[in-house]
């Protein structure tokens, strides 16, 4: 059963999504990989994502998470995640939270643009959102029952170097990650790469939902790279996933990504989708509540 906290946050997300917005999101379609673009300062993006996965030697599952992404400045974006999952013929449970921060160190655009990513995770072993694949993560890790898996408790720090380039409409990203479970586990490593492009680069004069420039398509690939004791591809899992995003003028973004496991350690199939809405001026609104207009 979902905790009261998580249900409260879902209700909050629903209420926020009903607020008017005049902002238009221009989001890339990646679900795992990151580009170098920050959230616009003062804007809040509320996102819901789902991952449905097949599971050999266990029950299929549907993992889902809600993100609250806020542009603190033009060079700093902070995000709060709430994770949950539902395993078929088992149970549904809240699996933890994450706090992510992305920092842009360079002032101007370059051919390759770096972003520093720092995340703290407080999750349990039943977390299955597969937001990143690290170390020797594999399908077998998700085969245990929820009652057993939730016994494991993880406090993890995660660092990523996000590199991203934009050239002639193409966005190309390369992410590397290093994660450390704070309970005396070795450093684990992983990667994500991706490329995407809008279907049309030039905008059309009329406001429209189905214009080609509102659709961005591409592909991403991600996987683990072992840990400090056994770095490399041995006993790791990898995925290849086409990705697509539909950015609506009303501020909504819909993403979809069917992912395919590339080796025996991977889940055979992952179907991911997400819905996001951006609210510009959220910072001003909340700032007033904290005494901005004195």
């Amino acid at each position: 059963m979902l905790s009261r906290t998580f249900r409260g946050l879902l209700l909050f997300a629903l209420l926020v999504s009903l607020l008017p917005s005049r902002s238009f999101a221009q989001e890339n379609p990646y679900i795992v990989a990151y580009d170098h673009y920050m959230e616009e300062p003062g804007s809040l993006e509320v996102e819901y994502f789902s991952t449905f996965s097949t599971q050999r030697a266990g029950n299929d599952f549907h993992a889902f998470w809600t993100e609250f992404e806020y542009g603190a400045t033009a060079w700093w974006t902070t995000e709060f995640y709430l994770d949950a999952q539902s395993t078929f013929r088992d149970s549904t449970l809240f699996t933890g939270f994450r706090w992510e921060n992305r920092f842009r160190p360079l002032k101007h655009e370059h051919f390759i643009n770096p972003v520093i990513y720092v995340e703290y995770e407080h999750i349990n072993g039943a977390d299955k959102i597969l937001k990143e694949i690290e170390g020797h993560d594999g399908e077998a890790d998700n085969a245990d029952s929820n009652a057993l898996a939730r016994q494991e408790h993880k406090n993890e720090l995660e660092f990523k170097l996000l590199l991203s380039s934009t050239y002639k409409g193409w966005n190309i990203v390369e992410n590397t990650l290093a994660a450390k479970n704070l309970s005396n586990q070795p450093w684990e490593f992983g990667y994500a790469v991706g490329a995407s492009r809008p279907l049309r680069r030039k905008a059309t004069p009329k406001r429209c939902n189905l214009c080609a420039e509102n659709f961005i398509v591409g592909a991403e690939m991600y996987g683990g790279l072992g840990d400090r004791h056994s770095f490399g591809l041995k006993d790791t899992s990898h995925y290849l996933a086409p990705v697509a995003a539909w950015n609506l003028p009303s501020g909504w973004t819909l993403r979809i990504s069917p992912g395919f496991g590339l080796n025996d350690n991977s889940h055979g199939f992952l179907l991911r989708w997400g819905l996001a809405r951006e609210f510009s001026g959220f910072g001003d609104l909340i700032g007033h509540l904290f005494g901005g207009r004195q």
Binding site: H36, A203, T204, P249, D284, I286, G292
Partner: protein
């Protein structure tokens, strides 16, 4: 061991307080007086000084869409979607971002405006807009240049 709802609640409250405080901090010192606010913005960031930083090669670039009859109208649409929140519906400026009808913007070469759009003014709050494909950034330049110096909005008629 289960993640207690108490721990989760504490984390959520901490994040909310942290954000609220940072936003409140950002807002403190702002004024209801639009003129004072505009002056504050102008003191904080001068559009002209940022345009002056554009390298010579970037300044010399010509707008490939300057003869495109749809560029201004499309640029106006894009401006409403991406820029009006900070620069105002008519690009008149707000306490967050400068007036784009100022002569220093209107007299700047299109290439310099394109350069600022592409690179943003990250340390002063303007995001990078290279995520918009290049033709869309030129459509925005066409619209901004069509505004004229503190005069009528030609795209509006």
């Amino acid at each position: 061991m289960r993640i207690s709802s108490k721990t989760g609640l504490i984390a959520i409250c901490a994040w909310a307080l942290f954000l609220g405080d940072s936003m409140g901090y950002a807002q403190r010192g702002s004024s209801n007086d639009a003129q004072t606010a505009a002056k504050t913005t102008k003191e904080k960031i001068s559009a002209g000084s940022e345009l002056d930083k554009a390298p010579g090669k970037a300044r010399a670039r010509r707008n490939p869409l300057e003869r495109d009859p749809d560029a201004v109208v499309t640029g106006k649409k894009l401006f409403g979607m991406h820029c009006a929140e900070c620069h105002g519906e008519s690009a008149q400026g707000t306490r967050r971002a400068p007036n784009l009808r100022d002569s220093e913007v209107q007299e700047a070469p299109p290439g310099a405006i394109f350069w600022v759009l592409t690179n943003g003014i990250v340390w002063h709050g303007m995001p990078v807009w290279s995520k918009l494909p290049e033709p869309q950034r030129w459509q925005l330049v066409s619209y901004i240049k069509s505004l004229g110096s503190n005069s009528q909005d030609s795209a509006r008629h």
